[in-house]
Symmetry: C2
Subunit: 220 residues, 2 copies
C-alpha cells in the first residue's frame, strides 16, 4: 500500500478541510488535486471528475487504483490502513462518542449549508441572500447549541472533543467553526467549542489544513 495519496480538494470546502486535518494529524503526505467548485459552472460536475467520484463532490481520495469519497469514510480508511497516530480513541464508548460528534456536524449541520444547497435556493427558488444566510445560521446555531451541551457536560471531554488527543471529532469541529465565522455566527454561546477550536488551531496539522494555506486558495 505504498502508493502516493492524492486528494481531490477545494480550498474552501469544509469536508475537504476535515480530511486535510486528519492526514496532517497522521503525518501522511499527499498531493492536492484542486477541483474548483465555482469556475466554469463547477469543475466537480465535469466528466473527468465524475469518473473519479460519481457524486460530483469533494473530497475524494485516490489511493492506488481506487477512489474513495465521503470525508468520514476517508478518515476511517486512512486510520485503518495506517494505524499509527490514530484518529479514533481505543474504547468502544469513546469511539462511539467521537463518531457521534463527527456525524452531528457532518450529517446535521454541514449538508444543509453547502454550496449546492445554497445554489438551489438562489437559482431554483430565488431566495434572497439575507434569507439564505439566516438559514445557514439557523442550522449552525441549532447544531452548535446541541454540541455545546453534549461537550460541556461530559467527563469524556478534555482538551479536545475526546480527551487530550485530537481526532476525528476535532477534524469535523474546526472546519464547521470556520464556516460559522464566515457566516457571522455569534460564537459566545458556545464556550466549550471555542476552547477546543483554539486548542486545535495551536497545532501544526490544523494550521497547515486551513483554507487560505491551500495551493488553490486565491491570493490574500
Amino acid at each position: 500500500m505504498g502508493e502516493q495519496l492524492q486528494l481531490y480538494s477545494y480550498w474552501r470546502s469544509s469536508a475537504a478541510y476535515r480530511v486535510r486535518i486528519g492526514l496532517g494529524l497522521k503525518g501522511l503526505a499527499y498531493e492536492t488535486l484542486p477541483i474548483h467548485l465555482l469556475r466554469d459552472g463547477g469543475e466537480q460536475h465535469g466528466e473527468a471528475f465524475r469518473k473519479a467520484n460519481p457524486q460530483g463532490l469533494v473530497p475524494a481520495l485516490r489511493h492506488g487504483d481506487r477512489v474513495l469519497s465521503q470525508s468520514l469514510a476517508i478518515l476511517e480508511y486512512v486510520d485503518e490502513v495506517w494505524p499509527e497516530q490514530p484518529l479514533l480513541p481505543k474504547s468502544a464508548d469513546e469511539r462511539g462518542r467521537a463518531r457521534s460528534i463527527a456525524l452531528a456536524i457532518a450529517c446535521d449541520i454541514h449538508p444543509l449549508n453547502n454550496l449546492r444547497v445554497l445554489q438551489y435556493f438562489e437559482h431554483t427558488w430565488e431566495v434572497p441572500q439575507p434569507r439564505r444566510e439566516a438559514w445557514v445560521r439557523h442550522w449552525i446555531e441549532q447544531g452548535f447549541a446541541a454540541l455545546e451541551s453534549m461537550l460541556a457536560d461530559d467527563p469524556m471531554t478534555g482538551r479536545f472533543c475526546i480527551g487530550d488527543t485530537p481526532g476525528l471529532a476535532d477534524c469535523c469541529l474546526v472546519p464547521q467553526v470556520y464556516n460559522a465565522r464566515r457566516f457571522h455566527v455569534d460564537m459566545a454561546p458556545y464556550p466549550t467549542l471555542l476552547r477546543i477550536d483554539e486548542a486545535c488551531q495551536a497545532l501544526p496539522a490544523f494550521e497547515a489544513a486551513r483554507p487560505e494555506r491551500q495551493p488553490d486558495a486565491p491570493p490574500a
Copy 2:
C-alpha cells in the same frame, strides 16, 4: 456489557429504521422507546428526551448508563461491542466503500429531506407543498443517480451493496428507498438499487424493521 439495549425510535424515521435493521442483522434484542415526532409539537423537543440526546433527534441508543446518538455511530458501536454477524466487511477497501455508500445517503440525501427541514420550509419560508416535494425528489434523484453509477459498475457490488452479505450500506439504502417511494420518486432509472432493495426485503431483519411493523406505528 450485558445490559439491555433501549432504542429511542419513531416508526417513520428513516435514521431509526437503519438502526433497527442493523440490530436485527446482528440478532441483538432491544426495547423500543417510542418518541413521537409530531405529537404535542414533537416529543423529541421535550426536556426528558433532550436530557438523553441534546440534539433532539432520533434514533438514540441507551446502553448501560450512556446514550449514543447518530445512526451510523450506533451501528459502528454495536458492531464493535458485539463483533458477531459483522455489519462491516473485513478489508479496509471494502469497509471504506461500505461507509462511503452509507454516508452518501446519511449525509447527502437524508438530512436535506427530514422532518425539521420540511417544517422550516413550511413554517418559516411558507414554501408551498408541491415545491417542498419537488425539493425532496431533487436530492433523492441526484443522490440515487450517483449511487446507481457507483454500484452498477463496481466489482465489489454483489447481491447486496458490498458482496453477498448485507451490512452497513444496505441498512442505509433500504430506508432511503422506502422514503423515495413515499415521495413518488420514479425508481426505474436505478435498477441496481431496486435489485439490492428487493434482495434485502426478503430477509427477516429487514422485514421486522419496516415502519409499519413498529409498536408505535398507527393502525393500517
